[in-house]
Amino acid sequence: MSRNTVLIVGVGHELRGDDGVGPWVAKHIAAASWPGVTAVVLQSSDPSLLFNIWRGFSFVYLIDAVLAPYPVGTILRLNLSHRIRTARLQTTSTHTIDLWEVIELARTLGELPSRLILYGIVSYSFQLGMGLSPEVEAAARKVVTRLWRAVKQICRTAPQCSVSYNTLCDTR
C-alpha cells in the first residue's frame, strides 16, 4: 500500500459537543499511527478544502456527526462513490457550502476519490463545550474498529501494506 492510500477525515468541531465525534475518531487513529493511513481533522468553516485534502488518496473515509431519525449513536455507512438517491442527510454544519455540496460538486467535476465512504454517527447535543454523549462515544469506538477492519481489507488487496493489530489496540 502506498503512503497515500487511505485517508480518514474527521469532520466537525470538538467544542460543539457531539459535533466533535469526527475529530475524536481521526485523532484516535492518528495517535495510533496506522501505517499507510493518514488521519486528519477538518474543523473548518470551509469544507471545500476537502478538494485539496483528499487529492492523491484512493480510499477516503469521512466521519461526521449527523442528524437523522434514528436512535442516538446509530452508525450510518454511506458509499458516496455512487450517487445516493435517498433523502439528504442533514449534517450539523452551518458552513457556507456544506459537506454534501462539496461531495456532489467533486462528483460533477470528476474529482471524487475512487472510493469515498461516509460514516455518519447520529448525534444528539451540539451545545458549546467539549465531550461526546455516551452513546456517541460508544459509536465512535465502533467506527474505529470498523475502519481498522476496512484498512485490513484494503491491505489484503495491497500486499506491501503491513498494519499491526496491536496498534489498533492502543487506541481503545
Binding site: S44, S45, L49, T94, T96, I97, E101, L105, T108
Partner: protein
C-alpha cells in the same frame, strides 16, 4: 402562500448559502411594506467581554476566531488599534507582507462567494453543483483560484483558516522570498481565471434596482484601502478612524442579536465592495480598472446586484497587487518590532471582504484589555439590507412562494452577509394583509 385572501403568508424555513443563521419577516398591507425584519437569531458570542482582562497580545488571535472566512480582517483591525495606541510604526516590509496576507483572504473569500454562493442565483439554479454541470471548466478553475488564496494564507499566516502568525508589531515569522515566488505561477493563472470570471458575471441578467446609498469605506492616500486608512463616505464624511463612533449610531433591535448601525441623523448606509469601488475606483489596479470599463461597470454604480462584478474586479486587483508585492519582497530584518505598552484607548479599522471592520481597545498600564468594541461590516449593513428589502417588497409579494424565497435570498446574498461575524440560514415569513 395563500393568495386572494385578506392575509397572505409566506414562510421559508432557512436562508441558504450565507454564513450563519437568520430569518426574514416581511409584512405587507395593501401592497405596501409595513414591516421588514432581518432576524438574526444566532446567539451572541460575547467576544468583547471575553477579551476583557486578557493580555492585549491575545486580541489578534482571539478576534480571528470570530470568523472562519475573514480572520485576517480581525487580526489586522486588532493590530491597527493596538499599534496606534502604543505608537508602533510598522516597517514597510512588514506592512507589505500584511497586505499580501490580506489580499490572500480577499481572493479566497470573494471567490467562494462569487462562484459557490452568488452566481447560481443569476443562472436560476439551486446551487454550485447544478451550475458546475454546465460550467465545469470555470468552476474547476475557480476552485484552483480559491486554493491559491488559501496557499498564500497558509504560507504567511501559518495555516489556511484562523492564521496564527500575526502578532502586535508584525509577525512571529516571515516567509523566505523563494517560498513566496513559488506562488507566482499559480497566482498568474489565478489572474487569468479572475479575468474570465469578471467577464462572465458581467453578462448576467441584473434586475433594475438602484437605491440611493451612503457608501462608507476606508480611504488610503496611495492605495485602494484594505489594510488601513481614514473613514470616508459618499456624503462627504472624512474622519480619522478614532472618530468612527461619532459617525455611527448603534441600536439594539428586538429581532436581532446583532446591533444595527446608522449614520447619525441620516439613516442606513452601505459598506463593502460596492462602497469601496465607488469611493476609491481610481486606486484599483490598472487591469481591474480596464476590465471595469470594458464591461461597463464604472462609478457611480448603485445596483447591489452588480456587487458580484465588483468582487471579481477586487479579486483581479488583489492578484495583481500580490504578484507585484511578491516580485519586490525582501524579508524584514526582524519579523516584528518591539514596543512599550502604554495605557489608553486605541482605534483601528481595515477593509474586510464584506466591508469596514472597526476595533477599539482600552488597555491598562499592565497591558491587559479593559474594554473592547468590535463593529463588523454585516452589522453595519443589516439596516441597509432591510431598507433594500422594504423597497423590493411590493415586487416580492407578487411572486410565488418559491420565487419569492429565491429572490429574497438573492437580494441578501448581494451583501455577502457574515451573520456569524455580526453575532448566522434565513427563515422567511411574508405576511400580506389587505385592509
Amino acid at each position: 402562500m395563500v393568495s386572494h385572501e385578506r392575509q397572505r403568508t409566506i414562510r421559508i424555513s432557512a436562508l441558504a448559502r450565507v454564513e450563519g443563521e437568520g430569518a426574514l419577516f416581511i409584512q405587507v398591507r395593501d401592497g405596501k411594506p409595513m414591516d421588514v425584519r432581518l432576524q438574526i437569531y444566532e446567539p451572541p458570542r460575547f467576544f468583547e467581554a471575553l477579551l476583557r482582562g486578557r493580555p492585549h497580545t491575545d486580541a489578534p488571535d482571539i478576534t480571528a476566531r470570530i470568523c472562519g472566512i475573514c480572520p485576517v480582517a480581525y487580526q489586522m483591525s486588532a493590530c491597527n488599534a493596538l499599534e496606534s495606541l502604543f505608537g508602533i510604526t510598522i516597517p514597510p516590509e512588514i506592512r507589505q507582507l500584511r497586505l499580501l496576507l490580506y489580499y490572500a483572504e480577499w481572493i479566497q473569500s470573494h471567490t467562494l462567494h462569487v462562484v459557490m454562493l452568488h452566481a447560481p442565483d443569476f443562472l436560476g439554479v439551486d446551487n454550485v453543483v447544478q451550475m458546475a454541470q454546465t460550467n465545469r471548466d470555470l468552476v474547476q478553475r475557480a476552485l484552483q483560484l480559491k486554493n491559491v488564496g488559501n496557499q498564500l494564507l497558509a504560507l504567511i499566516g501559518g495555516r489556511e483558516i484562523h492564521p496564527v502568525n500575526v502578532r502586535v508589531g508584525g509577525f512571529y515569522s516571515v516567509p523566505r522570498p523563494a517560498e513566496l515566488r513559488k506562488l507566482r505561477d499559480p497566482l498568474q493563472r489565478g489572474l487569468e481565471t479572475a479575468l474570465a470570471l469578471a467577464r462572465w458575471v458581467a453578462r448576467f441578467p441584473f434586475p433594475d434596482f438602484e437605491p440611493t446609498y451612503e457608501f462608507v469605506a476606508l480611504r488610503h492616500p496611495t492605495e485602494y484601502a484594505i489594510l488601513d486608512g481614514h473613514v470616508v463616505s459618499s456624503y462627504g464624511v472624512d474622519l480619522p478612524v478614532s472618530r468612527f463612533e461619532e459617525l455611527v449610531v448603534e441600536h439594539q433591535v428586538p429581532h436581532s442579536t446583532a446591533l444595527h448601525y446608522e449614520i447619525a441623523g441620516r439613516g442606513s448606509y452601505l459598506t463593502g465592495p460596492l462602497a469601496r469601488f465607488n469611493l476609491n475606483f481610481s486606486q484599483l489596479s490598472p487591469l481591474a480598472q480596464e476590465v471595469a470599463h470594458e464591461t461597463g461597470h464604472v462609478p457611480p454604480l448603485q445596483n447591489p446586484f452588480r456587487s458580484i462584478v465588483v468582487r471579481c474586479l477586487e479579486i483581479i486587483h488583489a492578484l495583481e497587487q500580490s504578484l507585484a508585492l511578491i516580485e519586490r519582497y525582501e524579508p524584514p530584518a526582524r519579523p516584528w518590532v518591539d514596543y512599550e505598552v502604554r495605557s489608553g484607548i486605541g482605534f483601528g479599522a481595515s477593509e474586510a471582504p464584506r466591508g469596514l471592520l472597526y476595533h477599539r481597545y482600552e488597555v491598562g498600564a499592565d497591558g491587559s484589555i479593559r474594554d473592547a468594541r468590535i463593529v463588523p461590516p454585516t452589522a453595519q449593513n443589516q439596516k441597509r439590507i432591510e431598507d433594500d428589502l422594504r423597497l423590493l417588497a411590493p415586487s416580492v409579494i407578487r411572486l410565488s412562494k418559491d420565487r419569492a424565497t429565491r429572490f429574497c435570498e438573492h437580494v441578501i446574498r448581494n451583501y455577502d452577509p457574515c451573520i456569524s461575524c455580526a453575532t448566522h440560514f434565513l427563515r422567511l415569513d411574508i405576511v400580506d394583509e389587505h385592509s
